[in-house]
Chain length 451, copies 4
């Protein structure tokens, strides 16, 4: 797909934790061949393109442990763009790539459409961030339900049913009626039919965050089925008890263990997380964002936010294994005038929801909380790759890895805002033409409905 | 547009009230040249097409005094087909034409799209029933409001606003705040900007049917502006008092004067309607439909329906000037599973809402109530043309009228079901290829969402 | 009921517009015998009580043209106090009296209970402000409807029905279905059955303020029935057109003509009001209250408030006949945490809803807008008495009038806050023991539910 | 409290399973002294009252394993009777006693009021069925929440909060946020503070029946705290998995194990229930009731009902230990017109909710399903006493037991309807004056609101 490429003269921060150094990176056929300590002299290869990146900073392409290529599942977005769900997902993946995030883990969406988009992108047919996907969150109902966007009496039952089924794929909320054994069987079938890359289930409810959705036995059955299929497993959790159960069940990665409702992370679970270096996909936000949120939050949500913020401070201070995690996607212009936003006055401060830019706010938040800059960089690259068990492919700048490379104008270890000062985004060894992205804007089009 | 055409040997019921007779109809350039009492011998014109319609019954193309080319304005239909409103309207107009209804009066819809569809059809570029339109009902808010489909908290304010504005065009519910003088000015501006063919305003509320929307002074101002622009005026009304006010204000045609809430049509208003032969666009339904409706109706709606039924019996018995009126359109398959339909068990009986077929139920209902068959036929043709002041163009089979002709296999005066036994539909002198309609089905497509 | 009483040495402002003067007021059997210009020497009557009010200001008891003895009609108040509606009304009347408001016009409430309370108070059996009442607002539905407190799906239909009927008394919203003639008949019957003191009808809707509830003919019928029974008539109105119609129909007093929605009071109606000195019961609020309200008002309500404020400025400037009008009553402690108050942050500023104190805010507002202090005093006394046609009984300190007298420590013409510096409240010639009021507190009890 | 009493000549069915026999029962000081096989000759005791019950059937007073003395917790009942909750409970206990149910287990209600009523009744100060109570269902929110009667936007937050707190007593839904250890601590505190007689917790949700409310660890903690305090423990459950977890956690009694949602009782759990003779408090209803319910049930509830019915058939057939269980109480007249009842047409058939009579429907249902009549009688007496560990006090007619005795005119083993043919109800050795009950009717008063 791509000819050879050399990046010479740049300061390489390779993601392994090794100190920044001047090095030449040689890429062939989409993979890194060498990361040389040499003098920056380009190899004599006739057809190789050489980028002189002196004064620049060369780091692994960034990764995000939790995004949603189809984030905005309000009824109006789903209906207005009924025939263009793939376009919505591609738009999102291209916005991420433009922002330097070369690998995404989509943790909730319709498996059919997303698998198709993943295949198009990962096979190189379509430009976009590399995609790994979970499909439905096992145990949750589809988007037009009380779990997400309650449809009230506005939509017809048939419409609701048809759309929700595209998310649920047989592992929606009705799985809660089943025994652990049947739950395992259904998950096995779901994995086989959808071809998802990892498994996410709901340990806590989404619409009703205090509830447990599965017993320990059922959780174990889910995790075992994932492992049997060679996939990692993770759980949506929002209470101390569901978090503890998830760990006991053997989850490989913890989604937002920082969200523990109105009760702080209990000491024993906290200790387990730190000691076992369990990967924490925590949606850390800047202090400014946190203040902005709390200005309009009613109880008990104000308390929930305060507890989450304190949990993150504790986790970072204790050196827990944190992963860059935004929950980001693309939001339609109309959605900002949705009734649920009615109490929000003025602009969102340091949003964590905008794919392509919000990851920088996570890095800022990590630094604010005292994380070492090199650890922060690894939280956005290598640690995610390891947690998702794809470290042989991506996450560091090492020979034989995919050539997903970010070239920055300024030192990201000096200031996290420098992650946004992008010179080049290279994916699979090819320089991305960022100005062309997104190629076919839908929600971000200047003529989008409501724009 | 069309070459000449002759219909020979048929029994002509020309809509003037004259008795059925055998006659030859000669058509040229889309208009009737002669309705001869002759022997059925075709004229010798070389290029004339001749239809031998011996044993058939030839009547004017049917008309409907109240339809909605975009009837289904549930949020999901409006959003799913956001870019195809014109297609929805064309589909509806083609279904009507296929059913023998060659002229439609659209009494509520988005003026911009409908005017464009009207122009396409009436100029012959697109196949469909001839369209006359009112656009918005002056004084009512758009489709996604309490007047029609309350949007609850599901849709964003921006989306609601954008869509409603396409119906309201400056003459929505906020007109109620204005003085009579300002109301007149706004209506004048609305007529000029939208190019509507007639004016309809709300004397009663739609979402709140007991309320009055305009004072007598404001109603007069609206009617005067319509007349000044050479248009007829009519009002939506649902109470005895609003009906009386509408008549006083000078309305040319009464929309559903049969709907008077829980109180029967008062004697004095009834007498006025009958004596002045005011055209009554009454949504008469069959007794079977009426029974079906009442089975699930709560109070006060059960009473409202009973009163309406009795009003229609009285109007027909007194020889009031009735017009075929269905309120029909096309309903999406999904909409039958809408929460508002939840108490409806089983099939709709003798629906009055299906464009292309429900007009036959109106005719059945008229006969059931004792209307003379010839009067019924005129209620579906000439009387509508006269009420809407387009009788020089359509409504009867007479020389110089447009050649909108329906050829039936059986005698419609013998049985109203025979209006559905169609041999030919001829519009503007051209035989309609009914099997091709609708050309591009949307809501009636076999693959429509929810079908 | 009361022995004789003399007030000597005070500065009397008698409400007739005459300049303040030192005078002795002699009261016998509850009525004023003389307002002497004398030397303040008490008459020699042996059993007469004499109040030395030197340095004090003596004015007529205040009046309020629009209050609600049962204002808080939230479902919880109506259910919690189901057997104590009379107690609620008495508590309100006593709070008013304690604050110096000796005569109230209750413009909405359940006729049965209120008439009983009126009779108890006006006959002297129970302490409280003198009460005149309208009962239901003709054309509006009861308290647990969309007109006031929509009951949603929380209450049973039977409960809703029973309670609403106690307000509606046959002249609720269903009257809108009727012809003008029938409307008149029903109003006649309502007056006879309930024994109300004046008639109020809804020209505009309450739940739907843009709507008209009655035609001009029906409005005339209502006003005529009131007049035939010797009662004054007034209308609830919220649009320019309903206000104009009400005046045309012959209303004796205009309730909140300052509320004209999003459109300012039209020039011609404004001129009519000023020239004919039509009594305007305008709910004027202080600028501080207005600012407070607008901080949280969404559109179109922010505009409605701005227009109202400007209308009041214009009316006062033009010398329209304004009446003190608060819409006040007693609000339960729980109601401040009702969902409808959710956007209200912090304390209410200069409330107009608290019976017993809010009338002072009206007077402050009048002065703020430039009203002459003497005119303001008359707006709170004589003008109300004249508008309600009870000026032979109350409103001024003149011989033969009822001895409703307020003795203030400071000059009310110097500062409207001085209306709250009360030395004595005298009603029907008897000094009110203000410290005992309310005698049996319900909503204002220290142990009230939610207090 | 009571002098001695003899019942002579009757056929005694003593609840131990022993065959019916003629016997004389001698009662002193409220307890049974002997159940003699003698000749029916009364003892010569001078002051003993002797009842000649020849031809009658003498059985233990009936028991109900699940009732609610305050069942109707609609907002309107709670507000209308705010100061009379104790009266509501006493009315219910008296209706039960009148119907022959001498001992009740109240499994959900406000602990404070109910404990007070229990003490009044059980100490003999007030007449009524013997009461044992659980208070709140641990883990559920109060009555005016989504768990029971969603308050919508009609009630104020303060009112909702005050009322709910009276049920929750610190062990409401927020307990779900806590760790197992903290859950245990809170339950310990709750038992100590309220003085409840047994413990009930929610293994499944009430508002969201598919959800789990507590982990296995937390369930164990709750059961252990109950046992530590000498109380039995039971759980509300509605899924196969929550039922399995409850059994594992050590529950002493299973509340409605027949309700397993859309999935039948799994074979292994079923086997455990049967083999271990776990007491099943199943709300069995007659086939006629079941048919009536299903006529108006939407999915998934129609399926849930069908599964429940089949579960009960299986349990009875397998000889599981069933307990008479009705969930009954007293429903206000108004509540039958509540929106949630809107689809119910006509009369309730064989209600299971009416305290005092519905227990007979349970017995009919048991017989319908093939239960042996003697087993049915024991399900209504001895088995409940044993399950609740009060068999040394009540449940059989044996010496030293409390003299709670039912004398029937006809043989209850011949026809379950005979349980309603009551001659005498004797409680604590005293004949109940059934005609006086309820002494102070509230909801069943002829003048009750809405009656």
């Amino acid at each position: 797909m791509s000819a050879s490429l050399q990046l010479t003269g740049g300061t390489v921060i390779d993601g392994t934790g090794q100190r920044p150094r001047e090095a030449t990176i040689v890429v062939e056929d989409g993979r890194i061949v060498t990361v040389g300590s040499g003098d920056g002299t380009p190899r004599s290869s006739g057809d190789a393109q050489t980028l002189d990146v002196r004064g620049k900073f060369v780091i692994p392409g960034l990764m995000d442990a939790n995004v949603h290529l189809i984030l905005d599942t309000t009824a109006e977005v789903l209906l207005l763009h009924r025939d263009r769900y793939a376009d919505l997902a591609i738009e999102a993946a291209q916005l991420a790539l433009r922002g330097g995030v070369t690998t995404l883990f989509d943790t909730w969406g319709p498996p059919g459409v997303l698998a198709q988009v993943r295949d198009s992108i990962n096979s190189g047919k379509v430009t976009g961030s590399r995609v790994y996907l979970a499909g439905n969150i096992i145990g949750l109902d589809g988007p037009l339900t009380d779990d997400f966007n309650p449809p009230g009496t506005v939509l017809s039952r048939k419409t609701i049913e048809v759309i929700n089924a595209e998310w649920e794929c047989g592992v929606g909320g009705n799985l809660q009626w089943q025994t652990a054994e049947t739950v395992g069987d259904r998950v096995c079938q779901y994995i086989a039919e959808t071809g998802v890359d990892f498994v996410k289930y709901a340990a806590s409810g989404h619409g009703s965050p205090r509830c447990l959705l599965f017993s320990e036995a059922a959780q174990r059955a889910i995790v075992e089925e994932a492992h049997r299929a060679g996939l990692t497993a993770q759980a949506h959790t929002s209470t101390p008890e569901s978090l503890r159960m998830e760990i006991t069940a053997g989850a490989d990665l913890l989604q937002h263990p920082d969200i523990t409702g109105i009760v702080p992370l209990p000491a024993d679970t906290f200790a387990t997380i730190v000691e076992r270096r369990l990967p924490c996909a925590a949606i850390m936000t800047t202090k400014a964002h946190h203040e902005w949120l709390r200005r309009t939050a009613d109880e008990p949500w104000a308390t929930v936010l305060r507890v989450q913020d304190a949990n993150n401070d504790r986790l970072v201070a204790a050196g827990a294994r944190m992963l860059l995690t935004t929950d980001a996607g693309v939001v339609a212009p109309t959605s900002y005038s949705h009734p649920q936003f009615k109490s929000v006055h003025g602009e969102v401060v340091d949003s964590h929801l905008e794919l392509g830019s919000s990851h920088v706010n996570w890095l800022r938040s990590a630094i604010e909380r005292g994380m070492d800059p090199m650890t922060a960089l690894q939280s956005a690259t290598r640690y995610i790759a390891e947690a998702y068990q794809v470290a042989d492919e991506v996450g560091t700048l090492e020979a034989e890895k995919r050539a997903d490379i970010l070239v920055l104008d300024s030192d990201p270890l000096a200031d996290p805002l420098n992650y946004a000062r992008i010179r080049y985004v290279i994916k699979d060894g090819t320089i991305v033409d960022r100005d062309r992205l997104p190629e076919r804007p839908v929600l971000t089009s200047a003529s989008a409905f409501g724009a």
